[in-house]
C-alpha cells in the first residue's frame, strides 16, 4: 500500500513529493518513504515511527527515528496503518454528528455543577490564602478611588467623631476571639458624600466608612452601633472578598476551559464582574444583620437599634417591588431583626 504525501529531512524545510510504502519483511512491518523517482528517503520499522495525533482535517505527520517527517492528507490510509488508538478514539468523539449533542449536554451539566459547588470551593481556598496586608492594600486603593470620585473630607466635629469611634471600638473589642484573621485591623473613617445619602459601607480589609449624613440624621448610639455592627458583619463573614474572588474565579475558569473569548468579553468578565460583585445578595445582607445584632448585644448596646433604623427608613420612602432588589426591603429587615433578637 502506498500513501502519497510530502517528505522533509530532519531540520530542513525542503519539501519533497513522496509516497510511503508499508511492507512486511521477516515478520516485521516496515515503512519506507520513496521520492517520485523511486529513491528511498527514509525507512524504519513501523513500530519506531511516531504518528501525530489526528486533529480536525490537518495533515498527519509520521516522524521517523532520525527526525525525518512524512506528511500526508490521506487520513483513511493512515488510520488503517495506525489502527485503533486512544488518539483516534478521541478524534471520533470530536466528530460533528448527533452523538456530539450528548457531549454538549454533559458539558452544560458540568458547568452547572461548577457554578453551584466548584466556585465556592475555589473561593474558600483563595480566601484562606489571602494575607491581611494585601487586604489592607486593597482597601487603601478603594478608598483612594472613592475619595477621587465621590467623597470629600468629613465635616463632622471632632467630638462627634470621637463619640462614634468609641462605639466602633466597643464593637471591635466585643468580637468573638478567632473571628478575624491575624494582622487584620478594623478602622472607621468618616466622609462627606452627598451622593450617598445616610450610608455606611465596609471594605474587605476591615475599613468601615460612615457618611456625615448618617451621623447627622441617625445620631442615636444604638442605631449607630447597629449599623456599624452590620458592616463589621460583612467584613468578618468576608462577603466583599468572597465576591471579588468569585468573579476572578469565573474569569480564570472561562479563560482556562473555554479559551479565548475575545477582547470585549474578557474586559466584561473581569471588570464587569468585579463591579457587580460590590452589591451583595439578600442572603449576605441577612447574615450581616444576624452577626451585627449578636455583636451589638455582646458590646452592651440595644440590639433593636438596627431594627429602628430600618423602620425609620421605610417611613421615609416606600419600598420598591421586591423582585428587582437584591436586598431585603427595609420593613422586612426590621421584622426579621426583631425575630432574631427574640430568638434565644
Amino acid at each position: 500500500m502506498a500513501v502519497a504525501g510530502r517528505y522533509y529531512a530532519a531540520q530542513t524545510s525542503r519539501m519533497i513529493e513522496a509516497s510511503a510504502i508499508l511492507s512486511t519483511a521477516g515478520g516485521e512491518d516496515h515503512l519506507t518513504v520513496r521520492s517520485g523517482d523511486g529513491t528511498a528517503l527514509a525507512s524504519a520499522p513501523l513500530g519506531s515511527v511516531a504518528f501525530s495525533d489526528r486533529i480536525g482535517s490537518a495533515p498527519r505527520r509520521l516522524v521517523f527515528p532520525d527526525g525525518a517527517v512524512f506528511e500526508t492528507d490521506e487520513h483513511d490510509a493512515v488510520a488503517m496503518i495506525e489502527g485503533d488508538t486512544r488518539a483516534s478514539r478521541l478524534h471520533a468523539w470530536e466528530a460533528f454528528r448527533p452523538r456530539l449533542l450528548g457531549v454538549i449536554a454533559v458539558g452544560l451539566a458540568g458547568i452547572w455543577v461548577i457554578w453551584r459547588y466548584g466556585l465556592d470551593l475555589m473561593v474558600a481556598g483563595a480566601v484562606a490564602l489571602t494575607p491581611a496586608p494585601m487586604l489592607g492594600a486593597m482597601d487603601a486603593g478603594t478608598i483612594q478611588a472613592i475619595d477621587a470620585t465621590l467623597a470629600d473630607p468629613s465635616t463632622l466635629s471632632g467630638g462627634e467623631r470621637a463619640r462614634i469611634r468609641a462605639i466602633f471600638d466597643d464593637l471591635v473589642a466585643a468580637l468573638p476571639p478567632g473571628s478575624t484573621r491575624s494582622g487584620q485591623d478594623f478602622t472607621l473613617d468618616f466622609r462627606a458624600a452627598p451622593g450617598m445619602g445616610p450610608n455606611a459601607f465596609a471594605l474587605p480589609g476591615g475599613s468601615v466608612i460612615l457618611t456625615d449624613a448618617f451621623a447627622e440624621q441617625f445620631g442615636e448610639d444604638d442605631v449607630i452601633a447597629g449599623v456599624l455592627g452590620h458592616e463589621i458583619g460583612h467584613v468578618v463573614e468576608q462577603h466583599g472578598l468572597k465576591q471579588v474572588y468569585r468573579s476572578l474565579s469565573i474569569f480564570l475558569l472561562v479563560a482556562l476551559m473555554a479559551g479565548d473569548t475575545g477582547p470585549i468579553l474578557e474586559d466584561v468578565l473581569l471588570e464587569g464582574n468585579l463591579l457587580l460583585s460590590l452589591s451583595f445578595s439578600r442572603e449576605k445582607e441577612r447574615e450581616a444583620d444576624a452577626f451585627g445584632v449578636a455583636l451589638v448585644r455582646e458590646a452592651g448596646y440595644d440590639p433593636y437599634g438596627l431594627a429602628r433604623f430600618f423602620l425609620e427608613l421605610s417611613t421615609m420612602a416606600p419600598d420598591g417591588p421586591g423582585w428587582y432588589s437584591t436586598h431585603p426591603s427595609s420593613a422586612d429587615r426590621a421584622e426579621r431583626i426583631e425575630e432574631l433578637i427574640e430568638a434565644p
Binding site: 525542503r14 486533529i55 482535517s57 428587582y324 432588589s325
Partner: protein
Amino acid sequence: MYTEKEEKTPVPVEFHGKTGEWFGIWIVNLVLSILTIGIYSAWAKVRTKKYFYQHTYVGGRNFDYHATGKQILIGRLIVIAGLVVYGVLSAIPILALIGFVVLLFLIPWLAVRSLMFDARMSSWSNVRFGFHGTYGGAAKALILFPILAVLTLYTTAPFADRARRRFVVDNHTLGKAPFAFDAPISKFYKAFLAFLAWIVIGAVLMGAVLMATGLFETLAMAFAGTMDPSAMDDPAMMDPMAQVLPILIFYAAIIVLFAPAGALYYAMTRNIVFNHSTLGGVHAFRSTVPPLRYVWIVLSNAVAIVCTLGLALPWAHIRKSRFLAAHTTALVGGSLDDFVGDIKTDGGAVGDAYGDIEGLGLDIGV
C-alpha cells in the same frame, strides 16, 4: 519596509479551519476539562494550539505546535505552587515586600522563558522557531520602557510599545534565519492617537445620549449605589432604574469605548509590525487588516457568544482566524525550502504557564 519588493512573490496565508470540526474538538476539550477538574485543560490547550497552527498554511506548508500536555501541566503546577508560597509568606509584611521585589526582578526572566518555550514548541514547514532574547533586553523592553511611559503620563507609550514589539520580533528566529523589525515611531503614534480619539469621541457621544434621554441625573444619583454594599439602606436607591443603570452604563463603556479602541489599536499595530518585519533578510510580510472591520468582527463575535451562552465561541474563533489570515501575506524573496533548523533544546514549561496567566503572547505566525 523592505526595498527590493518587486523581486518578492506574494504568498497568501491561508487558514483551513472549519467551524463544525473545531466545535467538536472544543466541546470535547471542555467536557474532559470539567470531568478531570481542570487537569485535562493542559492537554486541551495543546490540542487547541495544534488545531489552529496545523490549519494555518503559507505556501502549502503549515505550522505545528509540539508541546505536550504534561509539560503544560507541570508548568502550571509550578506557577500555582509559587503563588501559594507567595501568598503564605506574604502574611508577614516584610516578606511580602521582599516577595514583591523578587517578583519584579523575576518578570523579565519569566517573559524570556515564556517566549522561548512558545517559540521552540512552534514550527513551520518542519523547522522550529527560536527565541534568543536576554534578561537585560526583557528588563528594558518590559519594565523600563513602561515605567518611563507612566512617568511621562503615557505620552511616550508608543515608544514603549515599539520597544516591546522590537524585543519580541528581533529575538525570534525560524531555524537559523532571524526575524527583524523596525518601524518609524510616527506610525505607532498614529495608532495611539486613533485609540485615544475613539475613547474621547465615544465618551462625548455617550454623554450626549445620556443627557438627551435624561438618564444622566438618574446616573449621578445612583453612581454611589453600585459602589456601596449597603446602598439599599438609602431610600434614594429604591428606584429600580437607579439600581441597574450604573451597571448598564459601565458595560456600555467597556463595549462601546475601551474594547473597540483596543481592537482598533491591535489591528493598526499588527499591520505595522508585519509590514516592517523581515525574515532572514530576504522575506517580508504584509498585513492589511482594515481596523474598523476588525472592530466589527470582534464586536459581533462578542454579541454572538453572549446570545448563545458561549456555544458560538468556536465559530467566533474560526471567524477571527480566517479574517486575520485573509489579510496576511508573506512576500517570499527566495526559496521556502532553504530554512535549516537550529540545535534542538527544550525550554521549560514554567515560563509558558506564566505566559498563560499574564497573557503574554507573541504575535507572530498569525
